[in-house]
């Protein structure tokens, strides 16, 4: 029994830490899903777009990836605002398919733009922490970058939580998603509010993009991989709940690494997909939502 625990301590810890990264990837999608009932099929590509933005900033200013957040986050917010305001708002309420298809179109546009600009070569955001491992309590070795990702995720989610609890914008977003008509009666321009919500969501994609970039290699078509991860996280954790999404990330991370441990490294992604398919079949509203 003890030897099993010892054998599993690596996958479990790494799974949980990786889960933090998955959580931050999923937060943006969870927000949009909860607010405007839209699944942003371009979310994964937005994350990768942010990774490339960070790459460009790094190259231009010769800074560490973490510092690129100063530029990446605002840039992503602006992109998100514009996308929602000009492309998605016009098709909201015209049925379920048009928003899905517009998002799908965006996904293709982003991927191919990135392909044209950056070529299909795999990239990564080099930083000194990418290769270090630290030793916890002498018996646990974890990659430092996973820890940094996890911390970044927790900080971002905590900040988001405060935004929704304390600011007028945050409460207006909740109000607009509860009852759009009543929100308008309060003087809230709901179309603009949705754009701000999307801006926040893409801002988190910005953080996720930098985290992904320092942890893994990426290339223009990595987006869909992270889309499925984001979707998995959201489904596992339940819609619109910040904390639930974070938990969903942890579960997915655990499932992936335990799957990889028992079945082989090629099966890491597959384990995640299997879990997603199972949950989709039996509890698509999420494991933690009160039905």
């Amino acid at each position: 029994m003890l030897s099993l625990l010892n054998e599993l301590k690596g996958p479990i810890t790494n799974g949980l830490l990786l889960g933090g990264l998955y959580g931050i990837i999923g937060i943006g999608m969870s927000m949009i899903f909860g607010i405007v009932r839209l699944v942003n099929l371009a979310h994964g590509d937005l994350v990768i777009l942010a990774s490339y933005l960070s790459l460009v900033t790094m190259t231009l200013f010769s800074v560490d990836p973490i510092f690129t957040l100063v530029i990446v986050i605002p840039a992503m917010c602006i992109i998100g605002f514009a996308v929602q305001y000009y492309l998605l708002n016009p098709v909201l309420g015209k049925g379920m398919n048009p928003p899905l298809l517009v998002a799908f179109g965006l996904s293709i546009i982003f991927q191919n733009l990135l392909l044209l600009i950056f070529t299909p070569d795999a990239r990564t955001l080099f930083t000194s922490i990418s290769v270090k491992t630290i030793s916890l309590w002498g018996f646990l070795n974890i990659p430092l970058v996973y820890l940094v990702d996890f911390a970044g995720s927790v900080i971002t989610i905590a900040l988001l939580h405060q935004l929704f609890r304390r600011t007028y914008l945050g409460k207006a977003i909740k109000a607009a998603s509860d009852d759009e008509g009543a929100a308008q009666l309060m003087g809230i321009n709901t179309k603009t509010i949705y754009a701000f919500a999307m801006a926040i969501a893409t801002g988190t994609a910005g953080v996720a993009g930098v985290a992904v970039g320092i942890t893994f290699t990426f290339y223009p078509q990595t987006g869909p991989e992270y889309l499925i991860i984001a979707f998995g996280v959201v489904i596992l954790g339940g819609l619109g709940s910040l904390f639930g999404t974070f938990l969903g990330g942890l579960i997915l991370g655990l499932a992936q690494l335990l799957g990889a441990h028992f079945l082989g490294p090629g099966f890491q992604l597959l384990s995640g997909y299997l879990i997603l398919l199972i949950v989709l079949t039996f509890r698509p509203t999420g494991l933690f939502t009160k039905v």
């Binding site: 207006a172 909740k174 308008q184 009666l185 003087g187």
Partner: protein, 237 residues
């Protein structure tokens, strides 16, 4: 002679393809309580929604404080000084009582006065202060109605519109609420309210309009209208 605050002239309103309102004209003078009475489907809610900007008239004009407001978006009505308490209350279920009230003063010029207006609201509806940190979905029907009214008052509107505030509430609760309505009016807010209950609104108003099938059939002061005339207009006979 009190000034006319709201003037509606010959408006026609379509709800999708349905011709809901026909040549509606009415006037609401300052500091009055004006009622619109009618049976289900008479078009009362449609009229209030049009004044608040949720719907737009295809013909005719709406003037508020001398300014044309037909065709505005609903979120501009608040800035003009009109606030609507919608049918069915429609409080925000995921927000607390306090947060709901805060949404009421969302517009910038109301935010600065939040603290003092909040105090007044708690005096008017003490139960809201008691439950201020509770989720609004946990409140009873009557409490939610008070919250909806309080929320609409947070932006200190010149004209407040009430859409069937007695719907689904017990008689005692309704009596309670109408007492507050009187208080609100006494403090200077003009009120335009919509009701199905004839007696209740006759008691509470300075002027009534009776609607049927999208038209105004009768108007006048409650004391001057006969029961027979009122019933004839209400039922369209």
């Amino acid at each position: 002679m009190t000034k006319t605050l709201l003037r509606v002239q010959e408006i026609d309103v379509f709800y999708h393809d349905f011709h809901a309102l026909w040549e509606i004209s009415l006037e609401v003078e300052e500091t009055l309580v004006v009622s619109i009475i009618g049976a289900n489907g008479a078009g009362k809610s449609t009229l209030l929604n049009t004044i608040a900007g949720v719907l737009n008239p295809s013909q005719g004009t709406i003037e508020f404080q001398g300014k044309k407001i037909n065709g505005i978006m609903p979120y501009h009505a608040v800035a003009e000084g009109i606030s609507l308490v919608p049918e069915g209350r429609r409080v925000f279920p995921r927000l607390t009582v306090l947060e709901n009230l805060e949404m009421g003063c969302y517009i910038p010029k109301a935010r600065q006065k939040k603290k003092e207006v909040l105090k007044k609201m708690y005096e008017l509806f003490p139960i809201l202060e008691e439950r201020k940190n509770q989720l609004s979905s946990t409140l009873s029907g009557g409490e939610q109605q008070m919250l909806a009214i309080g929320r609409a008052l947070m932006c200190e509107p010149r004209l407040i519109l009430f859409d069937e505030i007695s719907l689904g509430l017990a008689p005692l609760v309704i009596k309670n609420i109408y007492q507050r309505v009187k208080q609100i009016n006494a403090e200077g807010t003009t009120i335009l309210l919509v009701e199905q209950d004839i007696q209740r609104s006759l008691k509470a108003s300075h002027k009534v309009y009776i609607m049927q099938s999208g038209r105004i059939r009768l108007e006048g002061k409650p004391g001057e209208l006969s029961q027979v005339d009122i019933h004839k207009a209400y039922f369209g006979m």
